[in-house]
């Protein structure tokens, strides 16, 4: 009798505890999502300086710098709604502190994908549109008549097949001549992410090869190294940019 009584008590206790815990959990409705920005060339992880990679136009190229903005993040739910964060994140491949961007206070729910802008939208891409930090000032796009910031600086060298000597390339993207040129990125997760007051890590990879091959084969020789005011080059890069990112992993912390 005593046994039955004590097991009844423990069951009651366990039940209360579960009830208590679930109630508590319900109170912390929101979670965190860390977005990690990594870089690759094809299947290899990007190495700056002196690593040489082939590209679709046939050149070997080497990357010296990679800096860019992403902004206007949306976490999409399976019911068609989305959680939005309209901030900009600056990534410099040389600076580990810029590797991740945290979406705070993400509501619980089932998320099926992520979208964002590579670059800045019309509202942010004006002179003084971002906080007046030395980093943002260094990204300014000062061409007379244009506004805002470089979206991306991808700089390096390539083996010019026509001349047989090394030349420099600078994929500097931004808005010019009234064309906004930012790239809209949409990524589906392989499996839905069920966020429940916890913290998730989403790893993204930018494949630099993609800037140079699809849908346009971007030939450094065909465009001069100065493309900031060249809308043909900007348009090609904008279209190539749509599939430079992929999701490499979505994991609960």
């Amino acid at each position: 009798m005593k046994n039955i009584y004590s097991s009844f008590l423990s069951i009651l206790f366990a039940f209360t505890a579960i009830l208590f815990l679930t109630t508590c959990k319900k109170e912390s409705q929101n979670g965190f999502v860390h977005l990690h920005f990594n870089h690759a060339v094809g299947t290899e992880e990007l190495v700056l300086n002196n690593a040489w990679y082939p590209c679709a136009a046939g050149h070997l190229f080497s990357v010296v710098r990679l800096k860019y903005y992403t902004s206007n993040f949306s976490m999409h739910r399976s019911d068609g709604t989305a959680f939005q964060v309209n901030e900009a994140h600056y990534r410099d491949a040389e600076t580990p502190e810029t590797e991740s961007f945290t979406l705070k206070d993400v509501p619980n729910g089932e998320y099926t994908g992520l979208s964002f802008i590579l670059g800045l939208d019309e509202a942010a891409n004006v002179d003084g549109g971002l906080p007046n930090t030395t980093t943002n000032i260094n990204m300014e796009w000062p061409l007379p008549g244009d506004q805002g910031y470089h979206y991306m600086k991808l700089e390096g060298k390539y083996d010019s097949l026509s001349t047989g000597v090394l030349r420099n390339f600078n994929l500097h993207t931004g808005a010019t001549g009234g064309n906004q040129n930012y790239v809209e990125i949409s990524l589906l997760f392989h499996h839905p992410m069920r966020l429940n007051g916890d913290t998730w890590n989403i790893s993204l990879a930018m494949d630099l090869e993609e800037w140079l091959e699809h849908p346009h084969v971007y030939d450094f020789d065909a465009f001069e190294p100065t493309i900031m005011g060249n809308q043909d080059a900007q348009q090609a890069l904008k279209e190539n940019g749509a599939d430079v990112f992929s999701v490499t992993s979505v994991e609960r912390e």
Partner: protein
């Protein structure tokens, strides 16, 4: 009053006073009249300048800036007592000299210092390096000086002078070395009747487009990106920044100096090889030399340079001269306090 009583009272008061005085002297060694009650100093930078980060441990005060200014101009800081900071950083040359040292202009916004970036961090870090390692400041000399112990107490509330406190005071003064009143700044601010001439305006276009493409390294309101580049100066470049980082990719890379007051800061390049701005512009126009680590931003490297016309070169120089801040080099608050 009876004389005996008078003397008793007199000596009583006297001994009381003496006693008090003696106690006071014993409790507070030299400097009984010292007070530590620093007044906050407001750093006035143009609105267009970037957000200024001042380390929490070294707030700017009137007393700190005053002390820093004295130390900057006083050879007592150097172990040889012959040279002061100002010996190589003279105000009339926008705080540089010949041979060229990086000018002390708007350094408050820098995060790396010296041509090869040997010191990184805040002004306090570079000033500590200068005091401790470069000047090898003799702290005894400062501690026994007739003025400095009091000034250090007033600035920091400290009785013992340290290299760190010297660095803090110098950093506070350095944060006031702000140049932002050139003709170009007045044009940006929309000052009435101040405008760029046609030549300066054309130079501005060359500077801020890929025509001249100066702005990627010397751009923004500070006219420097605070970064390091091999600007194609030599076919066999010096180790430069690679001597610090041991990274072969950093061979030939030197810090981009600010172009503010560039008219005043010649000779040019890290080794002062060019006497005039004309020579500098000729180099970027026709004189580039290929080496392995030349920066990709030298977009016309394969052509040897930008190939500007004579008119374009002189227009570019006209624009550069609009960055000269005569108020800065005449500012008495930044001049030597010793006369």
């Amino acid at each position: 009053m009876k004389p005996a009583l008078f003397y008793l009272i007199f000596f009583g008061i006297l001994s009381g006073l003496l006693g008090c005085k003696k106690d006071h002297v014993e409790n507070v060694p030299p400097g009984q009249d010292w007070t530590y009650d620093p007044t906050p100093f407001e750093i006035k930078a143009p609105a267009s300048f970037p957000i200024l980060n001042i380390p929490v441990g070294n707030p700017t005060t009137v007393e700190g800036v005053k002390l820093g200014r004295m130390l900057y101009y006083d050879p007592v800081l150097h172990s040889d007592s012959l040279r002061a900071c100002a010996s190589c950083h003279s105000q009339e040359r926008s705080f540089t000299s010949d041979p060229p040292v990086l000018p002390h202009v708007n350094l408050a916004w820098n995060t790396s210092f010296l041509w090869n970036g040997k010191v990184e961090g805040a002004l306090e870090d570079i000033m500590l390096f200068e005091v401790k390692e470069f000047f090898k400041t003799d702290l005894e000399k400062l501690q026994n000086h007739q003025d400095y112990p009091k000034l250090f107490y007033e600035a920091f509330g400290a009785r013992t002078i340290t290299h760190e406190l010297c660095a803090k005071a110098l950093s506070q003064f350095q944060r006031t070395l702000i140049s932002g009143k050139s003709k170009y700044d007045r044009v940006l601010e929309g000052t009435n009747w101040v405008f760029l001439t046609d030549e300066e305006l054309n130079g501005f276009d060359i500077f801020f487009t890929e025509k001249g493409d100066c702005f990627h390294c010397h751009g923004g309101i500070l006219f420097t990106d605070n970064s390091f580049h091999n600007n194609a100066l030599d076919a066999s470049p010096e180790p430069a920044r690679s001597a610090i980082t041991s990274n072969p990719a950093d061979v030939g890379k030197f810090k981009s100096p600010t172009l503010r007051n560039i008219e005043l800061t010649g000779p040019y390049m890290h080794d002062g090889r060019y006497e005039t701005l004309e020579e500098v512009v000729d180099f970027y126009s026709e004189g580039l030399k290929t080496s392995e680590t030349v920066d990709p931003l030298m977009k016309s490297l394969h052509l040897g340079g930008k190939h500007l016309t004579t008119q374009e070169k002189s227009d570019l120089i006209a624009f550069l001269k609009s960055l000269t801040d005569t108020a800065f080099i005449a500012d008495t608050a930044l001049a030597s306090p010793f006369h």
